[in-house]
């Protein structure tokens, strides 16, 4: 992974409001990134595996995954990613509106790398995105370059 090429982030989210908000907040940040968006679980896996229309897609460095997406929900996407040797190393941040214990435990059982409840407040949301940038995109050594 080159320090100059932008970080590839896949956002799996069917709510355009959330997509735009994430995009806006990321835009205000310091890290150069490319935000790729898919609206359902089937598309997400296809994108990650560069299947069909996504044959030219780049390898993703980070996945922001909403649990409640159509066709295949986030849990299934997570399960398939973690069962797939080619995808399991990609860090998955579950970013969802649920704060139910069942969802949180379920996600970690499926080896989610972290679980974040979408804050209602913009300042809070901004802080979350900054923290993701700070931690996952600058501190953490991602596996992408090695693969």
């Amino acid at each position: 992974m080159s320090a100059h090429s932008p970080i590839q982030i896949l956002l799996v989210e069917d709510n355009p409001g959330d997509v735009r908000l994430t995009r806006e907040v990321l835009k205000e940040g310091r890290i150069s990134n490319t935000l790729n968006v898919v609206e359902d679980g089937v598309e997400a896996l296809a994108f990650l595996r560069r299947e069909g229309a996504y044959a030219d897609a780049k390898q993703q460095d980070l996945v922001l995954l909403d649990l409640n997406v159509p066709k295949k929900d986030g849990r299934e996407v997570l399960a398939e990613m973690k069962a797939d040797p080619a995808l399991r190393r990609i860090p998955v941040i579950v970013l969802t509106s649920s704060s139910a214990e069942l969802d949180i435990h379920g996600a970690y059982d499926l080896h989610a790398n972290c679980y974040i409840t979408k804050p209602v407040d913009l300042d809070q949301f901004t802080k979350v995105v900054r923290s993701i940038e700070e931690f996952w995109l600058s501190i953490v050594k991602l596996p992408g370059g090695v693969a």
Binding site: N15, G17, D18, L21, S97, V120, D121, D123, F125
Partner: protein, 611 residues
Amino acid sequence: MDPTRKLLVVEDNPSDLRQIIEMLHDSGSNMTVESVETQAAAIDRLAVADVDVMLLDLGLPDSQGLETFVRLRDAAPGVAVIVFTGSSDVEVAVRAVREGAQDFLVKDRVNGELLTQAIAYAIERKHAEQALRESEARFRTLAESSPLAIFVNREDKVVLANPAAAKLFGASSPDQLIGRSALDLFDPASRSLVRERIRVDSEEVPLVEVRIVRLDGTPVDVEATASPFLDQGVKAIQILLRDITERKAADEALRESETRFRTLAESSPLAIFVNRDDKVFLANPACVQLFGASSPDQLIGRSALDLFDPASRSLVRERIRVDSEEVPLVEVRIVRLDGTPVDVEATASPFLDQGVKAIQILLRDITERKAADEALRESTEDLLRSNTELEKFAYVASHDLQEPLRMVTNYTQLLQRRYQGKLGSDADEFIAYAVDGAARMRTLINELLAYSRVGTQGAPFVLTALDGLLDDVLQGLEVTLSEAGAVVTRDPLPEVWCDPTQIARVFQNLIANATKFHGTDPPKIHVGARLEGEEWVFSVKDNGIGIDPAYFDRIFVIFQRLHSRAEYEGTGMGLAICQRVVERHGGRVWVESKLGAGSTFHFTLPAELEE
């Protein structure tokens, strides 16, 4: 004559003495004879009480006439006396007999046979007199000490009365009764009965109950009996009276109590029957009705066991036994005469019925109660189900509302962040309202979520030191408290079993309210705790604006607010949540307050609640 009898001859004339001894000898008497010549010697000799009879010459050297007899009679009251006198003194001798001498003999007209006969008769007479006197004394003692009132009536006048009679009539002594008309002693209402039954010419009078009148006029119920007798040739009647006031009261009490019990049994809604020798012996109307009989006769004589449903019989046989103690309540099933079963609650008490072991069985029809229990159980289940559904609904609703809310909040805030001051003052104001509205809705939804989660998402109870918990709550409220200038004081708090997150929320809500609803003075808040019986009573007291008692119930209802948003912020959910939390812990919450005089919120938690 009995040789052991001893005769003392008191005679100073030697020839008279010789004559007596010869007469006795001639008549074949072998009794012991002694003689003395003076009264003084006689008294000395009589001091040894072995003399049976005395032959007494009234003219002695140291005493003359009747006086001689009187002195010696008194010196030896048990000795028979025959006065031995000359023919000129017969009159004195007769007086001596009147004074107690048994006989007299005239010296010149006596012979041996007459003398021995006189001696024998005198001894016998003396014995008879003595026996009579003793018997009289015994009877007198008996009458004097008798608890029965006794009086003797002669010619309709009281001639004798014992102390018990005096006491019965309230007289200070029997003398107060003597001379009164006996009939007057009885109550006017009893007089005809007395006149008819207690008569000198009647036979022994059987017991009659009459009423007497005491001297002070108060009536007393007595039981009377009487025996007519001849008193010195005059027909008299001895009347015995016994005060039966107490017995009558006891009889009355017993009768009343019997009547009460009978009435109780007759009017009891409980079916009662008595079982003896496994046969129904008695049944009250409620029992007749319970079994669908038309009269007790339809039940009496039946086997009691047959009255129960076959499925209940082993229980009945085991529990309802004549040799058991009091039987605790058992639920069994009886069978009515028409065959329909009825659920009853039965209890029984064994007792002795005229010496026979019997058992009294009480049955209560519990058909309605069982139906009511069932209905209650069903409606409780319904309520529980609808409560659960409501909670689920509230949870889902508030959860699903989060999504659109997030959009509204985030984008209005994004608008504010990027375009504040760029679109004109109207736009700034509109955006500010939108941001504020979204923030309020967020609070509301969070509270609704919290409210719905009290029941469904409560944590298990753990033993919690409330002092530390309150420390945390106060720390969380630090900014709020210091902005309001609030002073919080507190009692030492105990450890209780609770869901600490929920109880912290209760303290937080109550303290936040106490801070929020303050008047012109800065808030002064006291957190109290005291043990009352089996529970802790906690209180949060403030000096704030107070609450009109008319609203006491309303403030605990979800979404109910007493103030406009401009006056005091709030969702109207805080106290509703407090109430749900406290109720989940088995406690109660209430408020004491007056408008303008501060409020005290109380809630209880069980002192010993294991999880």
